[in-house]
């Protein structure tokens, strides 16, 4: 029998190997493909979109799909396909900013709180509590009311709002890992706190967090839509998926097509992210899949 792989993990983060495994995984491939297409579409928007997204075609409002407008038009006669393509930009920018800023801060804070414990943990947890108690959507409302409406302000607001929850989750995952034998072993071999934290605990704890981050991207766009519901966020006439979803609200009963377009791309984004997250998780722990149920 082939002996099981050693329990102590190798410290260097086998990122490359992990990504190769992701790519080879059919779900992961599909996820990367969708994500890639959306990102490329956003970048190449001026090249691929048939119309200017803010150009109003008078007399052609609220049309369904046709030869002239492949996805139909909105209430001001603007081409929905062009708006969906351009709409990727602010939505993806917000999602990215939220993941990087919010996710980064949250994970680091959770790591510190979970691993270091003591007063660091107490302080961070109390700060989180204070931030947490304020409902995220209201927090967003307040931040934007103070900063003024706009895409980047929305990103800051959402990022700030998710730090406490990500931090808490990260902390709980770190807590699970903290008392494991391999951590003890690493410390016994003389690794410093930082090294143990970032090279040993983080990669193992982070695996489930990737799921959170992937979902977080999707939630960001939805959060943007929620804030748009309250009149905040990307200002007209700039299209963003969230703003488009919100605009479609008034026409839900009479022209549902306006809501379906951004809704479908959003669903695709979430689908891709979910598959990607699944594949990434598997990739970071290749043996786990084979435990087999």
């Amino acid at each position: 029998m082939v002996p099981a792989a050693p329990l102590v993990r190798k410290s260097p983060n086998p990122l490359n190997a992990a990504f190769v495994r992701t790519y080879r995984n059919p779900l992961g491939f599909f996820g990367l493909l969708i994500l890639g297409l959306l990102v490329i579409g956003a970048l190449a928007a001026p090249l691929i979109s048939p119309y200017n997204p803010v150009a109003q075609h008078q007399g052609k409002e609220l049309l369904g799909p046709s030869g002239e407008f492949w996805l139909g038009t909105d209430e001001l006669g603007r081409d929905l396909l062009s708006r969906v393509i351009y709409g990727a930009r602010p939505s993806l920018v917000v999602a990215l900013m939220v993941v990087v800023i919010g996710g980064g801060l949250g994970i680091v804070a959770g790591l510190a709180a979970g691993y270091l414990g003591g007063w660091v943990n107490a302080l961070l947890m109390r700060i989180f509590d204070a931030m947490f108690a304020f409902p995220p959507i209201l927090l967003g409302f307040v931040i934007i009311a103070a900063l003024g409406p706009g895409t980047t302000q929305v990103a800051y607001a959402i990022a700030l709002a998710v730090v406490p929850s990500l931090g808490r989750v990260a902390r709980s995952l770190v807590l699970k890992e903290r008392y494991r034998d391999y951590v003890l072993a690493a410390r016994c071999t003389g690794a410093g706190t930082g090294r143990v934290m970032f090279l040993h605990v983080l990669p193992n704890a982070v695996s489930p967090m990737i799921v959170n981050l992937a979902l977080l991207m999707g939630f960001s766009v939805l959060a943007e839509a929620s804030l748009a519901f309250l009149g905040l966020g990307t200002q007209p006439p700039t299209p963003s998926w969230g703003a488009m979803l919100n605009e479609s609200r008034a026409y839900l009963r009479n022209d549902p097509w306006m809501a379906i377009c951004p809704g479908v791309v959003l669903a695709l984004l979430l689908l891709g992210l979910n598959y990607l997250a699944d594949a990434l998780r598997e990739a970071f722990d290749p043996r786990r899949v084979n435990a087999g149920f």
Binding site: V54, P149, L230, P237, Y251, N254
Partner: protein, 540 residues
Amino acid sequence: MKRVMNRRSALRVIGITAGAALVAACTPAPQPQAPPTPAGAVPTTAAISVSTPAPAAAQPRRGGVAQYSIQADLSSIDGHVRTPGAVDSLWLAFDRLTTYDQQLQPQPMLAESWDVSSDYKQVKLNLRKNVTYHTGREFTSDDVKWNLLRVRRSDAASGQYANQSNWFTGIDTPDKYSVILTSDSPRPALFDLFENLNMLDQQTIDIEAGPKQTKAIGTGPFVFKEWAQGDHLTFERNPNYWDSGKPYLDGLQANVRDIQAATVQLEAGALQLIRNPLVDDTARLEQDPKYTKVLHPNPGTFFEYGLDCSKPPLDNKLVRQALNYALNRQRLVDIYRGNVTVGALPWGPSSPAYDQAKNNAYAFDLDKARSLLNQAGVSNVEVENIIIKGSYPQQETFLQVYQADLAQLGVKMTPKLVDAATWLDQANNVKYTGMWASGDNYSNLHPGSLFAVSPGWRVFPNNDGFQDPHWAELVAAANSETDAGRQKQLYSDVNDYILDQCFTYAVSNNPVWWITSSKFHGLVPTLHQGFSWTNAWLEA
């Protein structure tokens, strides 16, 4: 909701008197007159349909509680504070001295008759007898005096009425049912004040609390029962109302609802009527025989843009005129599906300043706008336009049309959707950049009233930072000219002036319509933006 936001702070409500209601009240069988369709609407407007209550086809039935929706909660239940939602809810607990018919003729309400001196410097009001407040106390001339004085207090949040109340330097109450008001200058618009000033009960008002009142006692057809802040207001029939036999409804509940939720609730039968649903829903429900659309013919509310005249480049009136020429008002008619009238002047058909020809000024003309900008020698104009989010969905959509048209001129206009408190702070202190957009009212009364009351039009200080002694003269004259012939000339001058200066300009009216269950009848339009519910009734 909402998330949703405050129409009231931006909409300066102007009274629309219910002349028809009073006429109906004075005749044995209530027969509300068919309100006249506004003449001279700008062409291409679809004919504004008005649902006329079927005269005596069905007899009013006593009973039933009407559940309806308003879009924003009140900010106060003080009857002297004007909020848009209040006119069709809180105001039902109060009466006013007189009420206008659709021809701007005052009709009796709490005042049965009156003598106005020929120079309009004095008016004697003869009050209706045996009118009681909801507490049982009789309404007398002393109450009229108290109300007139109360709105002058600086903590009363009634800036709207203080102005006009201050016209009267002498208030005498020779007996319980007579009030004599004297003024140093002629006040031809005095009934505008009476149309809008609710007669509150001095004994239940906590005078030190300013607008933060917890009771709303009046003499009106409905008794205020409860304010569940943020959710609803409840009213019950006033069993001792002076117009005996009325009101027909047992009670009312005004529910604060997101407009889409309200529409669904109407269709599910939880609400009997809803106010200003979205245009597409309106178009759909109109076709359905289960519902009726009641469009107010002359609400006196209109929509306007104001400009910051204190800083370049908008301090140059040529630039302001150019921006007016870039306004494609016809697109607004499309957006409203015809339920709106557009024009360059704010006046409704009952206003003596109404001028059909001048209303058509500033027809959309980008070339003209361009040449004006060149003449003024400005280019690369960048402005914002602040508007209260959620209050005027169609106007928000229209701002994007305006933005696109202005872009063709090289003018960058960015609509900024803000909440009410932010808007008020920026507009009232002229902190905004370039432009503001808002609802306004009093456009169906005497022009002087609008200019006295509205921060978009009044003499400096105003929301535009606009200063001109000639304007001050015109406003003063508008508020004191009593001769009908000279009035006509005066109003013509006033219209020419505001069309020339463009410090604030009208975009369209602000239509008010209700979609009601077809079992609901009897709403009668007033000239204070809302309807009278005294004659409203529900089929079984």
